[in-house]
Subunit: 292 residues, 2 copies
Amino acid sequence: MNKQPTPRTSNYLLAPNPNDERLSTPVTGIDQNGKSVDLNVITERPLTLYLNSQEVVTMMTIGDHPDLLAIGYLINQNMLKSDAAITSVDYDDELGVVIVRTPDETKFEQKLKKKVRTSGCAQGTIFGDVIDTFEDIKLSGNAKLKTSWLGALTRKINTTPSLYLEAGAIHGCVLCEEDRPLVYMEDVGRHNAVDKIAGWMAVNKADPSNKLFYTTGRLTSEMVIKTVMMGIPILVSRSGFTAWGVELARQSGLTLIGRARGERFVVLAGEGRVEFDINPSSGEQDTGKRKT
Amino acid sequence: MNKQPTPRTSNYLLAPNPNDERLSTPVTGIDQNGKSVDLNVITERPLTLYLNSQEVVTMMTIGDHPDLLAIGYLINQNMLKSDAAITSVDYDDELGVVIVRTPDETKFEQKLKKKVRTSGCAQGTIFGDVIDTFEDIKLSGNAKLKTSWLGALTRKINTTPSLYLEAGAIHGCVLCEEDRPLVYMEDVGRHNAVDKIAGWMAVNKADPSNKLFYTTGRLTSEMVIKTVMMGIPILVSRSGFTAWGVELARQSGLTLIGRARGERFVVLAGEGRVEFDINPSSGEQDTGKRKT
């Protein structure tokens, strides 16, 4: 029997911690034959985010890195600049509250105050603001993607110890450089994993222009917008596309790769960054299956 | 070659319409070998919901049944009772706006107005309200689930012509009775498919107490809350669980079945409704694989 090569998970700057007992819970149920079964299920808890005294949103999250999630959410929603001064991030585990404090009241708070006086929740307004900002961004830079990197990347990611392998039913996002995964975040909330990476990048002043973003989720408009807001030129998913996601990727110059399983994929935008270095006939097959 | 039996899709009260050209878009890209590929991708568009003059939320949706989505969202968020009087539902396709009008201002509007004056978006408040209402609901009734129904159900659902089969990257939800799928909704938005079914049930005054709800999505707290708010006693998914989803299901008396693939499944709550009528040794295997 051949031993599989051990993935170089030690190269991660930040990787999942499936041994953290707060992140999953053992439960007992029964199977289709009426037999008792034990399994681990993902923890999920509400987290309410404040920007100074302004309540922003209640998110459902596994609960790790609430500080990075909070900062990343505000940046990706265009409520905070990625280089904005932050006085403190206070997290209360018992209340499920995280408060990001800035030296001065932010433009977002002023705007939201004005807006809620007239018509309420202002989610449409925020949405409109994000789209306006998005439309000004054109991703450039000399980032590239060799097709040989993709198979290597997905193999490394899929064999990294994770809550996904431990308990399933969770989304994963990975910040990568060439064929190396750097930061791997997981979350039950659809976009929280992305936001935690955005928070990590802001806190660590990471250069986005030579990075690749890998996600297990679908390539929707929201996923494309978040990646572009983060300044990352290449977005890869094992899942499929939406039409608006493709349109926004083409507008902003994002390289959009979906249905990535092993060496196979489809690129629907920004194909100029892709370097085809695999001989078609030698392309190995790896279905890259994941439980959902 | 054996011909597969044709599923009785004609029994649906409402089924997906994959031939509706507005719901998917043909795009051209390239594959891993640099060859041109044509595929269909799901349409996704913003829809801003108003309750009377109150802006509530902007959702990303494929855009079919905006009226049912609007009504179902309000009901599942506890902003409207399922038997509330509705004067009209106006939909503007060009603006992407849907307005649900009631004869009088609703309690939700009064509450939100008061709340936003003090601290803004009030999502946490709404969330708290939903949880309070949820905690008062105990599902009872004599609904049951024979294990032999599950395999039949998933086979019928998986072979129903759908946007999922046409273009992938979409969630599906199906309202069922015994082993019969009745209403099958799809949407790119995580919970829109559920809300459209809630809207359909309200408009058609459907009895929830003998129904089963099938979803392709994970069994998160939000999915459990929506099913319980709809009064449906059995929730089935091909995907996995979250810990809070399991806890809420146990509290409310919901039968919660996950990892349902063919005849196989795990039940983590409300197992009293399950009738084991398959001989374990004869249980056929059907992996029920779906693209994601």
